[in-house]
């Protein structure tokens, strides 16, 4: 039973039954069993076997140097060595009995196969929606097959560590991510290329900033520990740091004056970092795209070793998995051109069982001229540039999050006094994170302090009692990314503070009596919310708040109700016509509000939400019924009319949280690291506003 379940899990993660998987596995197994790449025979196996034979696991580099063999045999760090050792050692022991290298090669090949399977499982986990496309793009990639199993490079080891680090970042496990990143760097220094991008991702996403320190600490700590052999072993320093591979980054250069050169790769890489930094918030998919581009640019702008071409492949596969099939075919064509070129140009493998020695580049055997090879190389570079351009298009320009994150999200919340505007604004700040939200309250734009005589002739609901022009200017400035100077109205003292600077942010919440009053603001809002409330309920809540919390006199509060009614009807209620979402709280049992014995009880409520036509509600309703167990009534009144959704039932914060994760794709990009989910009607409003926000953001792309 346990084995059956394990097979079921494997089947789900790797798609064992898929012919594409089976073809890829068959190719791999055949190559592992039949082929010994020249790199294995000349470099890796002698290095690993010598370290085992000499019992020099602590300093295998020195043991290798003592043999006088090729000093470029193993320019990798200790984590690479540790990953490769176990299966190769078993193979070497078998070889020791028979006096050959075959079992060691199979051990090393099987290590690569296990890592490859793990990589596929991780990729499927990161992009579960397109499993077959991932099989095409990664598992059947000619680049992956050529590098891993014919040419025999070991770049899969640091690359898998890097991809696992990225997965850990996705799961908000900064210490694990840092440790894996440190191990990746210790395995191969070139993985450093990706680390600034991961750090930028954690910095520019304000909600993720708390993860930066543990990530960096673990990365530096693990990298330092694993690089320790470099400190104590001159042989390790010479082989790892002295590898000529490191100098390739300087190969593409423009001559400058005085014999100096401008290194193009360095310039392009810095521009890429700056581009990443300039994006307001980087989504996870954008991070993947940026890493892919970073690696691809590196391999295209250097005389890269074939193994380097493996670096971008997992990330390229993740980006193109959701793109059109045509794009997949172009990437596969790039792979075939690569494999063809390097079959001609780079070392190959032996096939001992057939007595074939194909280790020499095929160009030598076939007698290809330099011109012919150069044409092939040009094709390879052109295909690489096309792939990079497609990465830019699919990964960046067509990335929803990139397009919507170029300007802040503006949420307008209007409604009468006591309708719950600040409560809803706070609830949304709790979700989206104080670090990511700038909140403008209409109360800060009342013309006068509470004690001023003008309030005897004007109500707060009258637009003339408020500096609505300044409110509009400030909201639009914040929505345009600019800072403002604003005063804050203190409900305790009834006075406004001195002006203070408020910066723009990723999300702007503009709440107030007249938040949707000005057409320019209403038009700019991504989400327009109007809060209405059953009249009796509003009176009930207003008394509770103004009398009990703000210490106003009850008779004054009641008198103000009647005085405000004309302004409410003229200036407040009409804003609901501009709203995408009208919330109306109603008592479940209206009679209880009038019952004096229940005056101190918190009334049980139902939430009525009016959605503008076109707003998606079907999935929302399914989830509210299924996950939250609510009673949901949907009424479509007439053609073109709104959708009225009435929600009744108890709902816990956990219900709202799970419903949101089910409902909103990429919710992770919208909410803070530890969002505060609420229960009851506030929680339902959180869910509906998130649904509306996701819809509005998708509409921005239309």
């Amino acid at each position: 039973m346990g084995l059956a379940r394990w097979v079921d899990d494997l089947e789900r993660h790797l798609r064992l039954r898929d012919p594409l998987f089976q073809i890829g596995l068959a190719i791999r197994l055949s190559l592992v069993l039949l082929v010994v790449p020249a790199t294995y025979g000349h470099w890796f196996l002698p290095f690993l076997q010598n370290s085992i034979a000499a019992g020099a696991m602590l300093d295998p580099w020195a043991a290798h140097q003592a043999t006088g063999l090729d000093s470029h045999a193993f320019p990798y760090g200790v984590s690479m060595y540790l990953v490769l050792l176990p299966l190769t050692a078993i193979g070497a022991m078998i070889d020791g009995l028979g006096g050959s290298q075959a079992a060691g090669a199979i051990g090393l090949g099987l290590t690569i196969l296990v890592l490859d399977l793990t990589m596929l499982a991780v990729l499927q986990r990161l992009r579960p929606e397109r499993p077959r496309r991932l099989l095409l793009l990664y598992w059947l990639s000619p680049i992956v097959l050529f590098i891993g199993y014919w040419h025999g490079q070991l770049d899969l080891v640091p690359l898998l560590l890097l991809v696992l680090a990225v997965l850990s970042i996705r799961q908000h496990l900064p210490a694990s991510a840092g440790a894996l990143m440190g191990a990746a760097i210790a395995a191969k220094l070139s993985m450093l290329i990706a680390s600034p991008l991961l750090m930028i991702y954690l910095i520019v996403n304000k909600r993720l900033r708390p993860l930066l320190l543990p990530f960096c600490t673990a990365m530096v700590g693990i990298a330092a520990v694993l690089q320790f052999p470099l400190l104590i072993s001159p042989a390790a320093r010479s082989m790892v740091l002295g590898t000529p591979e490191m100098d390739k980054v300087y190969d593409l250069a423009i001559s400058s004056s005085g014999g100096l050169e401008i290194y193009l790769l360095l310039v392009v890489y810095i521009l890429l970092m700056f581009g990443a930094w300039s994006i307001r918030r980087i989504s996870f998919d954008l991070l993947i795209a940026l890493i892919a581009i970073g690696f691809l640019v590196t391999v295209l702008m250097t005389p890269a070793s074939p193994g380097w071409f493996l670096w971008p492949m997992p990330f390229v596969a993740l980006i193109f998995a959701t793109a059109r099939l045509q794009t997949t075919l172009i990437v596969m064509l790039f792979g075939f051109i690569f494999a063809g070129f390097h079959l001609m140009r780079s070392s190959g493998a032996e096939v001992p069982m057939l007595g074939l020695d194909l280790t020499l580049p095929w160009a030598d055997t076939l007698g290809l001229t330099e011109r012919e090879l150069s044409i092939w190389l040009s094709l390879l570079v052109a295909a690489g540039i096309v792939t990079s351009a497609l990465l830019l298009r699919e990964g960046i320009w067509r990335n929803d999050y990139f397009r919507i994150s170029r300007r802040p999200i503006l949420i307008g919340i209007a409604g009468d006094s006591g309708s719950g505007k600040d409560t809803l604004a706070d609830a949304m700040i709790g979700l989206m994170g104080r670090e990511s939200v700038a909140h403008v309250s209409g109360d800060d734009y009342h013309h006068w302090d509470r004690s001023k005589p003008m309030w005897q002739v004007l109500t707060h609901l009258n637009p003339n009692a408020n500096d609505l022009y300044q409110y509009q200017q400030d909201v639009l400035s914040l929505a345009g990314g600019q800072s403002i100077l604003s005063r804050h109205y203190d409900h305790e003292t009834g006075r406004k503070s001195k002006p203070r600077r408020q910066s723009s942010n990723d999300v702007i919440i503009a709440s107030g009596l007249h938040a949707l009053y000005h057409p320019a603001v209403a038009e700019r809002c991504d989400v327009r919310i109007f809060l209405d409330m059953d009249d009796k309920l509003r009176r009930h809540f207003k008394i509770r708040r103004d009398v009990h919390e703000r210490r106003h006199k009850q008779e004054n509060v009641l008198a103000s109700f009647d005085r405000r009614q004309p302004d409410r009807e003229n200036f407040i209620l009409p804003q609901s016509e501009n709203a995408d979402l009208v919330f109306s709280l109603r008592p479940l049992h209206p009679a209880l509000l009038e019952d004096a014995s229940h005056q101190d009880d918190l009334p049980r409520l139902k939430l009525c939400a009016r959605l503008r036509r076109g707003t998606p509600y079907e999935q929302l309703v399914r989830i509210l019924i299924g996950v939250c167990g609510l009673h949901v009534e949907v009424v479509l009144s007439h053609f073109g009319g709104p959708i009225d959704v009435t929600l009744e039932g108890d709902v816990e914060p956990e219900d709202v949280q799970m419903a949101a994760w089910e409902l909103i794709p990429n919710l992770d990009d919208l909410v803070t690291l530890k969002p505060t989910w609420q229960g009851g009607t506030n929680g339902l409003m959180q869910l509906l506003v998130l649904n509306q926000t996701a819809y509005a953001l998708r509409n921005r792309l239309a």
């Binding site: 039973m1 059956a4 379940r5 097979v7 079921d8 039954r17 399914r622 989830i623 019924i625 299924g626 996950v627 939250c628 167990g629 108890d650 816990e652 956990e654 219900d655 799970m658 994760w661 089910e662």
Partner: protein, 257 residues
């Protein structure tokens, strides 16, 4: 696991209707149940300071008692009753709010952890296009089974749903099958029953309504041999799609000939 047909003559033509079990047939039950129980256990540890062993022990006792008392009825599966009794067993007497809270925690996590088997909707769509009526016949109460069906977005696919709450008895009692047959009306071709349970679904449907039985097999599902064996066993719904396509093509060829 691939499609194995034990009785070729039984599956030689398209069905007149197809009846489905729900739990562990349309989605894997065990994982969702494990996740839901884990969430409930953690809640009990957090809110009631129970140890995992105390919770598991009390819950198992509660479940056993409720099942013994209400054997064969929909209520015998009620999580609400299990949690109510569990709280009583740990000495808290009847805690109505807590019992409701535990029940909701269980189903919330259960549903968000459950995913339909791959190809279920495609197969149902094939049946719809072929004009073959479909029904669900399932144990448990209507409230939670309806929630599941709505949550999975299956409400538009099925013509009828019969729960053991409605029929009065759990499968393999004939009441559920008979009521399904009654709702489906005049079906002139053989009816297919698709389920995972060798007794409740396979033997039940064969004995009660003479259905052609197809068993969904995956980890943890017992497949019987001999006379008790289902007419066909499949692992993936894609295999049923292929089978159905073949049967429909054969029918078209015969009609053309």
């Amino acid at each position: 696991m691939s499609l194995t047909i034990n009785r070729t003559d039984a599956i030689a033509a398209r069905p007149g209707a197809v009846i489905f079990d729900t739990d562990n047939t349309l989605y894997p039950y065990d994982e969702a149940h494990a996740a839901a129980m884990d969430a409930s256990r953690r809640k009990a540890m957090r809110q009631l300071s129970l140890s995992p062993a105390q919770f598991d022990d009390a819950y198992a006792k509660a479940r056993q008692q409720i099942k013994a008392r209400l054997e064969g009825t929909a209520s015998s599966h009620s999580r609400l009753l299990y949690f109510q009794r569990m709280l009583e067993i740990v000495g808290l007497r009847t805690q109505v709010l807590l019992a409701l809270d535990f029940e909701q925690t269980y189903w919330r996590v259960f549903l968000t952890s459950a995913r339909l088997f791959e190809g279920v909707k495609d197969f149902l769509d094939d049946l719809r296009l072929a004009g073959i009526p479909t029904a669900i016949v399932t144990d448990l109460t209507a409230q939670i089974q309806f929630r599941k069906i709505v949550y999975f977005g299956l409400d538009h696919y099925f013509d009828y749903v019969v729960t053991s709450e409605e029929a009065g008895f759990d499968k393999p009692h004939e009441a559920s099958f008979a009521l399904t047959l009654e709702k489906l009306g005049d079906v002139r071709r053989p009816i297919w029953m698709i389920g995972d349970n060798p007794i409740c679904d396979i033997q039940g449907a064969r004995t009660c309504i003479g259905a052609v039985t197809l068993q969904k097999a995956h980890a943890g599902v017992k497949v019987m041999d001999g006379d008790a064996a289902p007419d066909a066993v499949f692992g993936h719904f894609s295999e049923l799609r292929t089978l159905m396509r073949r049967l429909l093509e054969r029918e078209t060829e015969r009609a053309a000939a």
